[in-house]
Amino acid sequence: MHSLYNLASGPLAWVAFLLFFGGSVYRIVRMLVLVAQKENFIFTYMSWRYSLRSILHWITPFATVNWRRQPLLTVVTFAFHICLLVAPIFLMAHVMLWEESFGLSWWTLPDAVADWMTVIVVLGAIYFLVRRLTQPEVKFVTSASDFVILAIVVAPFITGFLAYHQWFSYPLMMSLHVLAGDIMLAAIPFTRLSHMILSPFTRAYMGSEFGAVRHARDW
């Protein structure tokens, strides 16, 4: 078990971070190059003011008509995404690893809070799963990949939760947790999890078109 842990937290973690950062930069650069080559006009219409106006509306709960129309989904999706981002970055155990390896450290969450955030991520994922399986308009456009990416995202949280509480075999859970984290990081740029890096651009472009050309709200 030690060897799996060492592999996952050693070379594979390097590969995962490399794929995550390198892949993210690659996706963004490739998109921008494609814009420059084929749809150069897009740059003409981009506006910082209207981009930020649109993004700010959509990253604020209940600030758009559609968020208000879907109160449960809005609460769940914001809680899910905030916990998903914040918990891993500010988990004390993670920060300690950074400190041990690179001498970097920052503010950390109390373990109990991080624990609850993990539960929220898992519950959020269950909500999305149920929504996919039961809501006809979501089910209709669901493909296998949608379940795969949901599993990729929730796996590090489930295994992390089990490891933290030392249920089942701790060394096994810990190894699986690190492995699942590696997989998630590496998958972000190369699956539709890339909405994490690309959606600000699509939102910004639509915001710019609506703001500067259409003179209408896009929320």
Partner: protein, 444 residues
């Protein structure tokens, strides 16, 4: 995944589509699809497809979806799934029958109203993807017959309705004479170089709604506007080629329009109460020609009336006394932000304005726009049944007292006529121009 099979089979027969697909092979389809996707699209299509998280949140934006009891086939993303996703995934190798269905979806089950862009958290432009599908359909020669005929008319006559060269000035002269019975000094100035304004219309006005030109002539004359209309091609601002994906003809038509304004050395182009023409002149046609924004100031009738009333150039003798409700056309409201100006005009000329809900940018489409009404009789019921939710919205306004529905857009007008008639809503439909003509101060 399991797909609910709620949607009834399509039985429509359209000669443009059916004859078109009879000529197709999988190889030909694949070569056209790949050519469009590789050569004519870029970062937008790729990023939209890669970023969509399949959440379905765009669904409730769509009047077709709402009107079909939330059948997911009609949701915006559902239409994308049934068309461009499959084309991309199969690298273009889809069957003629698939193309038939794609043509029906893209041409008759989407008005390109972009309401879904306001509901997608990522701002994915689904209307753009439907236009890509229409472009593919065009290049495969499967465009629905009626709208294809309109595109042919644009190509041959540079107007939408096969109006012949002499019929145009003839119609203007006829309306000038008619209006002179009311105001003897009235003129419809043709080819007046250096006028402030070139007034352009869509071809259905001279073809069968010539009274709209009459009304405009009266408004222009009373307000003392320095205006002109071209006597040659270039007078028509409409553009169905834009909606068939025939971008080359869109470009020719718009170039003729802009060059006519240039030739007449006018300061701006004022256009009648039409939505799609505004989209073509202000948003799409100019871009195809390489203009980020139109080369002329484009003033839609709503804004023009707003200016005339606000500056006191036309005065209201007695406000229109029947309660009205205002329909916000997608192309000038979601596409041009004219909703507050429209309300200013409405309140200035009418005693009572009853809002329908939703309104402004969130108004439901008329279901005629985006070229859907131009696919003609085979799809008339598609648009009426596809917009039950509009009927419910209009009933709501009527319940609150509205008797007249003002729709400052030609396609909206015609589409709403069908909806009001079919669902027996009992609202009279008018243009702003109809009411202004009726209530304005005119010389004795």
């Amino acid at each position: 995944m399991a797909e609910p099979s709620k949607k009834e089979p399509t039985t429509v027969v359209d000669d443009g589509i059916d004859v078109g697909i009879s000529r197709l092979t999988v190889d030909k389809i694949a070569s056209v699809i790949n050519s469009v996707i590789n050569d004519e699209t870029g970062a937008r299509l790729k990023t939209y497809v890669d970023t969509c998280i399949h959440c379905g949140l765009c669904s409730e934006a769509c009047h077709y979806y709402l009107s079909h009891d939330k059948d997911p086939h009609y949701s915006p993303v559902g239409k994308v799934k049934q068309t461009i996703w499959v084309m991309i995934k199969k690298k273009g190798r889809v069957s003629p029958e698939f193309i038939r269905q794609a043509a029906i979806i893209a041409h008759t089950q989407c008005n390109l109203c972009k309401r879904c862009a306001q509901y997608c958290p990522f701002g994915i432009d689904i209307a753009y993807m439907m236009l890509v599908v229409r472009r593919i359909i065009h290049r495969l020669g499967v465009t629905p017959l009626y709208i294809q005929d309109t595109a042919h008319s644009h190509s041959v006559t540079m107007n939408q309705m096969w109006v012949k060269g002499d019929e145009w000035p003839d119609t203007l002269q006829w309306q000038e004479e008619e209006a002179q019975a009311e105001i003897p000094t009235l003129r419809i100035p043709l080819e007046k170089e250096g006028a402030d304004i070139m007034y352009s219309v869509i071809a259905p006005e001279p073809k069968f709604q010539a009274q709209l030109i009459y009304q405009t002539a009266v408004i222009m004359n009373v307000a003392g506007v320095d205006w002109t209309m071209p006597a040659s091609v270039g007078w028509d601002n409409s553009d169905m080629a834009m909606y068939t994906g025939d971008n080359e003809i869109m470009g020719r038509v718009k170039r003729a329009h802009f060059e006519t304004a240039e030739r007449l050395k006018v300061k701006k182009i004022v256009m009648g109460e039409c939505g799609h023409a505004f989209r073509s002149v202000y948003d799409m046609g100019n871009r195809w020609l390489g203009w980020a924004m139109p080369p002329f100031t484009i003033v839609h009738a709503i804004e023009f009336y707003y200016d005339l009333i606000k500056s006191g150039r036309i005065k209201i003798a007695k406000k229109f006394d029947r309660p009205i409700t205002l329909h916000d056309p997608c192309n000038v409201v979601r596409g041009g932000g004219l909703h507050e100006k429209a309300r200013y005009v409405a309140h200035a000329i009418c005693e009572t304005v009853v809002e329908m809900h939703p309104n402004r940018e969130h108004n439901y489409c008329c279901c005629a726009g985006g070229g859907v009404i131009n696919t003609g009789p085979p799809f008339k019921m598609t648009r009426i049944e596809g917009n039950r939710v509009k009927a419910e919205q209009l009933f709501g306004a009527k319940t609150n007292g509205a008797e007249v529905l003002v729709a400052p857009c030609h396609n909206c007008h015609s589409g709403l006529e069908d909806i009001v008639h079919h669902y027996e809503i009992g609202l009279d439909i008018k243009f702003f121009g109809d009411i202004i003509y009726e209530v304005m101060e005119k010389p004795e």
